[in-house]
Each structure stands twice: as C-alpha cells, then as structure tokens.
C-alpha cells in the first residue's frame, strides 16, 4: 500500500493533493445543499433591490449619476464578507460532529482542513459574486471596462478569502455551531455598515468618520468602486491590499496553530 511509505514529513505534492481533496469536499457540500447558496444570495439581492429602490431616490451621492453605481461596490464587498462568516460555522460543525477527529487521525497535511475550507468558500464566493453581477446588470449597473471589472471582483474575492481566515479562527475558538454563527457575524455587521459601502463616509458624524475611514472595508469598497467605474483606484487599492496581506499574515498562522491544538 502506497500510504505505508509515508515519510515523517509529507511531501509538498501530497499537501497540495490533500488541499485539493478537502476543497472538493467543501464545494460538494454547496452543490448538495443549494440552500446554503440560496441564503447567501437572497440577502444581498434584497439589499440591491431595497437599497436601490428605497434609498436610491433620496440619496444623491456625489460623483455618480445613479446610486446603483455607488451601491454595487458596497454590496459586492458586503456579500463576500458576510459569506466568509460561514467558514467558521462550517469548521465548528466539523468539530462538533467529530469530522476533525477523523481528519486528524489521517496522515494528511495539517493545513489541508483549513485551506480546503477557506478555498471552498472562495469558490462559493466566485459563484455568488457572478450571480450578483447578473442581478446588478438587471437593475442598471454597468462595469466600465473589462479590466476594471476583473480587478474589482478579484479584490472582492481576495478580501472575502482574508476574512474567511478570521472566521476560521473564531470557529476554532468557540467550537460550537451556534456560537460560531453569532461570534462570527456580530462584529462584521457594524464594520460593514460603518463604511463607505452604502453611503459616503463624509456624511457620517465626525467620531464615526475616523473609524470608518480606517477600516479595511472602506478602503476595499473605495478601491472596488473606482475599479468598477473605470477610475484610477489610487492609494485605496494599496491600502486594501496591505490590509488583506496583514490579515492573512496574522490569521493564517493563528488559525493553523489553533487547529493543531484542538483536542
């Protein structure tokens, strides 16, 4: 049996295969339970329609002709970030059902459970973001240029991936599905709303502006907005990428060390 020849440390090619197998498993879950996808899509679709038709008339945002052109960058980022909270919920579920025990008793790469989960959720976000683009086009949104569109959606997926690792850490810390749901979501909600996602930061009270300007949400939304409207994203893009890199640098090792110590 080939497995009997395993060395003390797994070769890199096996790590890649393990991650592939785990990613496939997590994507299959979304195929088998489409409700998981439907729920993560219905809510942003409602946001698009409600924000656009309810507030769209009242909100005059400088720099864009229609509110939908302002709104979509926020909706994309919000969808990706909210979706990333599922990473921790899925891990907590695996923990509580004994799946993690099974995986840890196998000679597989330790990183594959987490990487497979976050990558699976990245692919889920690809699907959701494309679907949102379709909805946005129906209500009059347009990307200005293909390159900008690719850049904008790529940045959205990246920030979602980074937040998936935060969510993974939370899931491993709380270890319980319900707690992971609450703990993973409760702080994300104000973070996303106190940003330039739905309204310009300049219209907020001064004390909130300071916070809103500094978050990775605002920098990312601003960069995505600029890219999707065909404008130069300027320093916002670099700030956003710096945030993403920073989050990954902190939370990937943190989550992996938590996973190793799960008992």
């Amino acid at each position: 049996m080939s497995a009997a020849a395993a060395p003390a440390r797994l070769p890199l090619s096996w790590t890649v295969r393990d991650i592939g197998a785990m990613t496939r498993r997590n994507i299959l879950r979304y195929v088998r339970i489409p409700q998981l996808l439907v729920f993560s899509t219905i809510q942003p679709v409602m946001f698009v329609l409600l924000f656009n038709y309810v507030f769209g008339g009242a909100l005059r945002v400088p720099g864009v002709l229609h509110y939908i052109d302002y709104l979509m960058a926020g909706i994309f980022v919000q969808t990706a970030i909210f979706g990333s909270t599922q990473t921790g919920v899925g891990l907590a579920e695996d923990l509580s059902k004994g799946m993690i025990d099974r995986f840890r008793s196998l000679p597989m790469a330790r990183s594959a459970v987490l990487a497979g989960r976050t990558l699976g959720d990245l692919f889920r976000n690809v699907f959701v973001v494309l679907l949102m683009t379709g909805v946005a086009y129906l209500v009059g949104f347009r990307f200005h240029g293909l390159l900008g569109a690719i850049g904008a959606l790529g940045l959205v997926l990246l920030v979602g991936f980074a937040f998936s690792w935060i969510s993974a850490t939370i899931g491993l810390l709380v270890r319980n599905v319900e707690a992971a749901q609450t703990a993973g979501f409760i702080w994300v909600f104000p973070l996303v709303f106190a940003s330039s996602a739905f309204a310009p930061v300049a219209t907020m009270p001064g004390w909130l502006q300071g916070f809103a300007k500094a978050t990775p949400i605002t920098t990312t939304v601003d960069a995505v907005r600029a890219l999707s409207l065909g404008r130069p994203p300027g320093s916002e893009l670099w700030w956003s990428l710096a945030w993403i890199a920073g989050i990954l640098l902190v939370f990937v090792p943190f989550a992996v060390s938590r996973y190793r110590r799960v008992t």
């Binding site: 395993a6 797994l10 295969r17 299959l28 879950r29 099974r102 008793s105 196998l106 594959a112």
Partner: protein
C-alpha cells in the same frame, strides 16, 4: 506474538480532572483487547492519545513501533479509528465519504474509488452508496464510519464505543462485522461500557476505572476473580430481603451480598458449587422466608466490576449520553487551554 500496542505510565489531565493516571497496557498483534469501564473512566482519552489526537502529559506509547509523539505522521498510516459517533460527512454520499478518506491516505483516484466500492459492499451499503449520508439510519452511519476506518487496511484498529446508541439489532449486526474483521488478523483495541460487548468480542479485557487499569485477563479469568459462581435469590416478600441477605451471608457465601431491595433480590459470590443451593433453601426455610426464585450462575462482567470496585459499572450520575459526556470533557479541556 509481539506487542503491537504498548503504553507505559500514560498520564493525562485536563485542568483539575485527571483522565489517565498512569496507564500501562499492551496489546499483542492479531488479538482483540476490550477496554472496559464506565463513562469518564479514561477510555476515550487513552484511545485519543494512541491515535495521536491528544498528547500525553507523561509516559510513552507506541503503535506498530511508531511513537505517538515523535512518529505521529507515520503512525497515522497504519491505524484506523472509529470514534464515539459516526464521523462521516452527511452532505456527501457514502461512496464520496470513503473516496475522500482514500484520497487523504494518498491513494490515487482509481484506487480510492475501487476501495470505496469494495468496502461499501463488505458493509452491506452497496445499495445506499450513492445516496447522501443524511438519509442513512444510525446503524448505516456506524457501518460507514467503520468502513472509513478500514480504507488503508490498518494494522491496528481503534474502535471507541462502536455501538453506543444503536438498537440491539444494529448492534448485533455490527458485532458480526467486527468479528469478521478480527478473523482476518487485524489487531483491535475496543472500548466499551457494555459488559456484554467486551465479553463477545474481546480475547482479553482490561478494566479501567478513574484513569487506571484495575484488572486484566480473559473474560473467564476475570470472572474467576469473583470467586467461582454467583448465587441469586429472590424472596417472595420483598420487605424481608435484608433479613434473607443476613441469613444467606451467614451460611453460604464468600463476600458481601448485594441487595436489590426494589426487586427483592440478592446476589452473592460463592465458591461452594451446587451444594450451596440446598443450604440456602434449608436456612431460609428455617427463618420462615419464602423463596420465589433461586439460581446459581456464572458471573457476568457486571459482577466483576462490582467485585473490583465495590460498585456497579453504571454510575447513575452519569447518563448514557456520549455526546454530553464528550462536550463536558471538551469544556474542561477548553478551560485548561485558556
């Protein structure tokens, strides 16, 4: 025969709770060792250390020559584990579950598929192989879980309370499957809180209580520790069972009688053989106590546990719910980690 599992002086505690308090235990290759003990005795902790899920605080252990700490990755290639509840993915089909495990053992895709099909057939799941596990019954999930633990043809198989929570019929079906496995020469370490299960499946039994192995031997050897046979008396008038216990203990027993006042029953180990029955009848008749049932039987492992620890195997304060027990233990671990 060589010892394929060896544990020496294993200690492990979770905060204030000592789960293992110096366990020495070895399993010879090709045999079945039943680890018997009540909830919270340390059985699961022992299995988790041997399967590299948990590090020991002190002591050492090896499986198939691999140290549980130093050679963890290698060790994982030669073991199979089925835990207290079926660790299978509900959203995948049975076939996909086994294929995933095969892939994670680094079988190539074709081999992983072939092995999955083979195991599904062996565990009577062929018909359900392409159905999502969510639709499986409890017994089917356990079978799939057992199948998953065999994907790599393990040299040592660990089954942690494999039949807890199953109905009697599924339990017997699983026993038959485990027996077949063992007949193929797989070494098995089985934990259970069911005395009957250890009796049926194990070549040797180690009794564990409060983190220590308190007895070891074949089922018969352990039963001999009780001292031959067990006398069982049921009296017609339940109120007089205590009086009956006094009479019987005075004439015929070896050891303390155990009284079940509610059933009007008493049991007593005895070494005197069938002749004791006559003595009991005479003695109780003289005392004017009417007997409704009288028997001399081979001791069960329940009697063994009682003789070893002074109490029954089932502790009433710990309900038979592995999930709760496990969660409680998890919580203790959390606290110790914090």
């Amino acid at each position: 025969m060589s010892e394929i599992v060896k544990a020496e002086g294993l200690h492990r505690s979770f905060g204030q709770v000592t789960a293992l308090d110096g366990v020495d235990l070895a399993v010879r290759e090709g045999t079945v060792l039943g680890l018997l003990g009540p909830n919270g005795a340390g059985k699961t902790t022992f299995v988790r250390i041997l399967t590299t899920l948990l590090l020991p605080d002190r002591g050492r252990a090896e499986v198939a020559g691999y140290d549980v700490v130093r050679d963890a990755t290698m060790l994982r290639t030669v073991i199979g584990l089925a835990g207290q509840y079926a660790a299978v993915d509900e959203t995948l089909t049975g076939h996909e579950n086994l294929e995933l495990v095969g892939r994670l053992y680094h079988l190539d895709r074709a081999e992983a598929r072939r092995r999955a099909g083979e195991l599904l057939e062996r565990f009577d799941l062929s018909g359900a192989g392409h159905r999502v596990v969510r639709t499986y019954s409890g017994g089917m999930r356990r079978r799939l879980d057992l199948a998953a633990s065999l994907v790599n043809r393990p040299r040592v198989l660990f089954l942690d309370e494999p039949t807890t929570g199953l109905d009697p019929r599924s339990r017997r079906a699983l026993w038959d499957m485990i027996k077949e496995l063992v007949a193929d020469g797989t070494t098995l370490l089985l934990t259970t809180q069911y005395l009957e299960e250890a009796d049926r499946l194990a070549d040797e039994i180690a009794v564990i209580d409060l983190g220590q192995v308190i007895a070891r031997g074949t089922a018969d050897e352990l039963k001999d520790k009780v001292g031959g046979e067990v006398l069982e008396v049921r009296v017609a008038d339940r109120a007089r069972v205590q009086a009956a216990a006094g009479e019987v203990a005075a004439c015929c027993g070896s050891g303390e009688p155990q009284v079940d006042a509610e059933a009007g029953e008493l049991t007593l180990p005895t070494a005197e053989g069938a002749a004791v029955l006559v003595d009991v009848v005479r003695r109780l008749d003289a005392a004017g106590i009417r007997i409704s049932d009288l028997a001399l039987r081979r001791p069960t492992l329940d009697d063994v546990f009682l003789a070893l620890t002074g109490r029954g195997a089932e502790r009433p304060e710990e309900p038979d719910q592995p999930r709760n027990g496990r969660r409680a233990r998890r919580r203790r671990r959390d606290r110790s980690a914090a």
